[in-house]
């Protein structure tokens, strides 16, 4: 008999109540229970960062969290960033700077940078590269992502 628990998790402002097996990771819960497939799975051992979400406003690897640990918690995923059809300033900066190619690492990058820019509104390039060191990208060589982050920081400071 599988060990299960009833949980209530708030994701992007909406409460979801489910009964889940206790070994189910948060990443799988989001992707397959809630069908929020924007959070991606790249390694399942906490290195690639493709599964990065915010839990209580702090970035974390969803592949290393159990869904049951998130009972009562508030999660933000990539689907929670844009307001409807309009991309937010960070997302727009990604498009403007060609900060994505295949798009698979992108949700994790966006979440990491959302937290980072909130806490560091005027970062240096070095600081941006350091915070991105927890997210792997194989397509872009990081340079356009760094450019997008600095561009977004500027726009947000200027009131975007």
């Amino acid at each position: 008999m599988a060990d299960t628990r009833a949980i209530a998790v708030t994701v992007n402002g909406k409460v979801h109540r489910r009964e889940v097996e206790t070994r189910m990771t948060l990443a799988d819960f989001l992707r397959h229970e809630l069908e929020l497939t924007g959070t991606h799975v790249g390694c399942e051992h906490g290195v690639c960062g493709a599964c990065t979400v915010l839990i209580g406003g702090a970035s974390a690897r969803a592949c290393l969290l159990l869904a049951v640990q998130c009972d009562g918690e508030s999660i933000t995923t990539v689907e929670g960033l844009a307001a409807g059809e309009q991309l937010n300033a960070l997302q727009q900066a990604f498009q403007d700077n060609h900060g994505l190619q295949c798009g698979f690492c992108t949700p994790g990058m966006l979440i990491t940078l959302t937290e980072f820019l909130r806490d560091h509104p005027d970062p240096s390039e070095t600081e941006v590269r350091e915070v991105l060191s927890g997210n792997l990208c194989r397509c872009t060589g990081y340079q356009p992502i760094v450019a997008a982050a600095l561009d977004a920081a500027k726009r947000i400071r200027e009131g975007a």
Binding site: T22, A60, L65, V131
Partner: protein, 291 residues
């Protein structure tokens, strides 16, 4: 890579957690999850019971007294990183934390988890060794204080009994006048160090070394406090000759090899990093003497 099935437990108190640990067979304790969850996802470990400590509020605390820093085992690395008081009273810890993983891992990872996982080159383990920390173990039967020197039993194995949890750590605060340094060599930002070296140096009014502490990680299963090297520094001028000698001695420490790194390279790094750590600690000590 999905974990094998287990029964999940989320105790609300240390007492409850200790009771579970004593009564459940093949149980593992879950702290920040940054080390245990990958091992479970790979199925390198397959506990029948998982005891999640994240709701045991009493295990997360950060307190200072005149002489020491008292940290609950479940205190997140993030909290240590952003503590202004640690920045003032134990900046060595901040210097070490800058090398620990990444933003996402520090948000969840705990100091207790790092100490119990006991990776040979973990930065927090190194600092605990340098400061001569005391680990506070708790079980159904009570508490037990373990000096760090007795804490590492073997490769990635602590001396905690099967029914014991790490509840907290006490770190003696370094003398404010002492110079400190934490240096490491890792392949990439946030990686585990290949070798790390931390140092504390105390100088007298003449600028001679009166106290020296070094902790070298990455050579063997646990950080090494090279007592002979530390003693040899006493009475010396904090400059090239003494530091080169110390570095040369550090290179003679035994080191292990693995599929990626030779023992010789580790010993070479021990030499280089000891020199750099002592230089940096001396510079800081002299700034304080001048100031």
């Amino acid at each position: 890579m999905k974990p094998a099935p287990f029964v999940y437990h989320d105790p609300r108190s240390l007492h409850e957690a200790a009771g579970m640990l004593a009564s459940l067979e093949n149980a593992r304790v879950l702290a920040g999850g940054q080390s245990l969850m990958p091992m479970m996802n790979f199925r390198y470990v397959m506990p029948d019971h998982l005891i999640d400590l994240n709701k045991v509020g009493e295990l997360a605390y950060l307190r200072f007294d005149a002489a020491a820093l008292h940290i609950g085992a479940m205190t997140r690395q993030r909290e240590l990183e952003f503590s202004a008081e640690i920045g003032t009273r134990c900046p060595l810890l901040h210097e070490a934390l800058a090398h620990v993983g990444h933003r996402q891992t520090r948000n969840r990872g705990t100091i207790g988890g790092s100490l119990c996982h006991l990776d040979p080159s973990a930065e927090l383990v190194n600092v605990t060794a340098l400061l001569g920390g005391t680990l506070h173990a708790a079980s159904q039967h009570g508490t037990r204080d373990i000096p760090f020197a007795e804490f590492a039993a073997a490769y990635m194995t602590t001396s905690l009994e099967a029914d014991e949890l790490l509840a907290g750590i006490t770190l003696p605060l370094p003398d404010r006048r002492h110079g400190y340094a934490f240096v490491e060599f890792a392949r990439r930002h946030g990686d585990f160090a290949i070798v790390a070296c931390s140092a504390l140096l105390g100088l007298d009014r003449n600028g001679d070394i009166t106290q020296a502490a070094l902790a070298l990680s990455g050579l063997g299963p646990a950080p090494v406090r090279p007592a002979l090297v530390e003693r040899a520094l006493i009475g010396q001028k904090p400059a090239g000759a003494a530091f080169k000698a110390a570095a040369a001695e550090a290179a003679k420490l035994e080191a292990t090899a693995d599929a990626y790194v030779t023992a010789a390279y580790r010993q070479h790094l021990a030499r280089v990093l000891t020199f750099r750590a002592l230089e940096q600690a001396a510079r800081r000590a002299m700034e304080k003497t001048d100031g």
